[in-house]
Symmetry: C2
């Protein structure tokens, strides 16, 4: 049995290594779920307009952004912006409804918007955990490992960005190592740094070494992940990063991060309307910087335990909000980011998967275009888990099959199988089964569907333990994608010069 298990894992690893042959992204062929009717959607949009008109929104310590809004006719009083109803939305009108993001490997370009669906791994964890070593601060080695694992997984299309924080590298220098890892150890699209304007500029500079200055003036190759300081505040760190990417005609993914009850009222309708208002202002800013700059309408709204203040994930309230956001994004005619395999669990246990799948499913049904945080997330995002990563990634594979939909045609209806098998006998050996058995079903390599006795004989491992073996096998099989030596040297040279120009800063 151990050998069957080894064969199974080897198969799974091999299938993962065939990443190059998988689709660069998914195209959904199933309808979107529409939760709200027109009246409810209009009420949300109208409330967002009311917020921007009556309560207003602040952009703090960014006179450039304030001036852009003032020039566009928005009422600016100190740092407080107030919009006429419809004004914020009108300023978003030049944002493209869909766009292409280019990868170092041309076969891995991505299409944002429409019926397209893109998965990427977790973003932002200071901690990392695995079954053997437990929870610890993440390092650059961990970061590189997750870049490699993402590259190896055929169901992850985008590298996300700060998959985890390389805390062994100075805060003011780690972005250089992260962007290098994305460019060197993978060949997929990714997000650059947003923690300071000069780090955004470094991210752009490194991308230019690979893609060329001229190409990047007209083509999207890098994005910034912009959060809002909800409620109703943008701080200058985020607006400056946003402006950097937009000015370079590169991308922004804007997502208010809201824990309902703290950064918004506790009721979902309010939280959704508020985030929609915040989003329109951020999207408008990208368009004021550069009309046509590619931008994604993102949401990251979840609940909290209102007794303890702890964030909670995969809750029914956050599911409902996700459905509503998807409809609002579609009415803005913009690519939509939301969801992910989110959980507050500390380990890849029942809770982790219960919450993660609860958070992910509505994003899929709602028609999200871009789902990062799709692999590895634990502990409310504070930790990324190696085992959780491969478990989640495999679920992305199952979802990739799901969005292909159900074909109803003569071959699928299989009249010949019944003519061959007749009544009451099984279909295992009929020609129709032989034609389809290899491709009929998604094969979940980490799930154990064997008998209890076989499972006991193989060591009665739970999924987390099987996942532990899996990511080790994947990393052992990793080989970097090719890169032009001159380009690699130029990247390393840029990084060395930049690092030499600064003292380490750890804040």
């Amino acid at each position: 049995m151990a050998s069957a298990s080894t064969r199974r894992r080897a198969r799974a690893a091999k299938s993962a290594l065939e990443a190059g042959t998988a689709a660069a992204f998914l195209r959904r062929r199933i309808p979107r779920y529409e939760l709200l009717d027109e009246e409810a959607l209009l009420a949300l949009e109208s409330h967002a307009d009311w917020l921007l008109a009556e309560i207003g929104i602040e952009i703090r310590e960014d006179p450039v952004a304030l001036e852009l809004f003032r020039e566009a006719g928005v009422s600016v009083d100190g740092e407080l912006l107030q919009f006429e109803p419809g004004q914020a939305r009108a300023l978003c009108a030049s944002a493209p409804r869909s766009f292409t993001m280019h990868a170092r490997n041309p076969a891995k370009h991505l299409e944002f918007g429409g019926d397209n669906l893109i998965f990427g791994p977790a973003y932002g964890s200071p901690f990392v955990t695995d079954l053997e070593r437990g929870r610890r601060y993440a390092t650059l080695e961990d970061f590189q490992n997750f870049v490699k694992l993402t590259y190896l997984c055929p169901w992850l299309h985008h590298q996300s960005g700060t998959i985890c924080e390389p805390t062994d590298i100075a805060v003011n220098k780690r972005h250089l190592d992260m962007v290098y890892a994305h460019l060197r150890y993978s060949d997929q699209p990714f997000m650059g740094s947003v923690t300071a304007p000069e780090r955004a500029q470094d991210s752009l500079a490194l991308a230019r070494i690979v893609f060329g200055d001229e190409f990047m003036r007209e083509h999207l190759v890098i994005q910034g992940n912009i959060n809002v300081n909800s409620p109703l505040v943008y701080d200058n760190t985020m607006t400056a990063a946003l402006r950097s990417y937009a000015a370079a005609n590169q991308g922004n993914v804007i997502s208010p991060f809201i824990l309902g009850g703290a950064m918004s009222p506790v009721t979902q309708a309010a939280a959704v309307a508020q985030a929609h208002a915040e989003l329109m202002v951020g999207i408008a800013l990208t368009q004021l910087v550069r009309p046509g700059a590619p931008v994604v309408y993102g949401s990251f709204l979840t609940t909290m335990d209102l007794r303890s203040g702890a964030p909670t994930f995969g809750t029914p309230e956050s599911t409902l909000a996700t459905f509503a956001f998807a409809q609002l994004a579609r009415r803005m005619d913009l690519p939509f980011r939301c969801g992910g395999h989110l959980t507050s669990s500390k380990v890849a246990d029942a809770q982790a998967l219960q919450e993660s799948n609860n958070a992910m499913y509505p994003a899929i049904m709602a028609g999200a275009n871009f789902i990062f945080q799709a692999a590895g997330w634990l502990e409310g995002g504070l930790t990324i888990g190696y085992e959780k990563f491969v478990i989640d990634a495999e679920q992305c594979g199952a979802l990739a099959r799901l969005v292909k939909g159900l074909d109803v045609d003569a071959e699928q209806l299989a009249a010949d199988a019944y003519r061959e098998a007749g009544v009451g006998s099984n279909f295992l050996g009929v020609a129709h089964t032989m034609r389809h058995y290899r491709s009929a079903n998604f094969e979940a390599g980490l799930s154990d569907s064997r008998s209890y006795e076989q499972w006991i004989e193989a060591g009665s491992l739970d999924m987390q333990q099987r996942a532990h073996a899996r990511w080790h096998e994947l990393l052992a099989a990793y080989e970097p994608p090719p890169i032009d030596t001159a380009i690699d040297e130029a990247l390393l040279d840029y990084i060395a010069r930049r690092k030499a120009s600064m003292d380490d800063a750890w804040y």
Copy 2:
């Protein structure tokens, strides 16, 4: 921290004990997901008609059923039935689109059909497992425990039937103890025995002691869970049980149990069309026995690992089939059963919840009316787990919140909260939050959303371990619902007489 954890668990147990105050069933206020278009649905229906006309379906060793179909004008050749296109469906026309099921406690009656949603626990496991004692054959004590746990859970509305097999009781007598447990240790609706016609009659007789002969002639109080011997065969065990319940004007829940690739072709479209054909014949039989007899259109279609032959659950292929069935059931205008928290995992680990939630979510989105197998199922149904049971039951609570939908009205939009809090400050203390914080969010008692440090201090328990404590607490707090002593004695007397009339049989 231990004391906070104890308080949390006590709260959860208390909330569960308030079952009497929870809704007897759910009424969904969210739209149904429609996967297939009219053309695809017509193709499935037309293929089902083709199967019944060209391939046919057998009813084995049940001359009474065959005669009923012959009298209705169906072509019967030996045991093979062949239907004109549309004929089977026409014979289903008298089945009610919705109906009430009565409970011993009148407050716990159920409405089947329409926008109603009913959850019940697992059905049929010979084995039981818990973290302390491991996997073992289930006993009557286990059966009684699960009846009590179901009674205690506010999110389970129906007792299902053979929650697990009491293997310590003779096969020909255990149905008496099971039906007694449903009637004595709970006051919710339940399913009776279907394993032999005389056991169905015993189930009906026990129900009559509680509900009265006259009442049961006009009111539904008990159902039979009827499976089809797919492909395209009904055996006489099932048809005889079906006829027993229908003749008494009681209910049937008919579900072809299909592992695609074995009991149907491997492609989902074929499996769905075949199950639809099988269902129409079973439903038609209920109506031939007694027009208007209440019946549920059920599906239990899943995939298998086509290399090993092992059943697999929560797969994307089975999700797609669930969506299709829901649409076909609605076009039949019948209550629809499907889904459940299904998995092939042996323990309540990441796999168990990943697969379970994958199997459950589409049933909810598709608009299922009756979902048993919603709590406890493990190992492809061979085992019911105590920990899995309470984990699943809590997810049913989250889904109960989900189907209530998202209200968008002035109170939910919370304009006053913004007037009070302004821009950039949190909403924790505003009056709107105070008004809503108790009821705003579903509280998941088994999920741990605390900080890593708090979690470590509390013993770093995973969800399975927390669930172990939970079901013990629930059982310790159990008190049986009241029953009239004379009725209880009459039930026990009937059971004693029936048991005395038979030797034990163990097959």
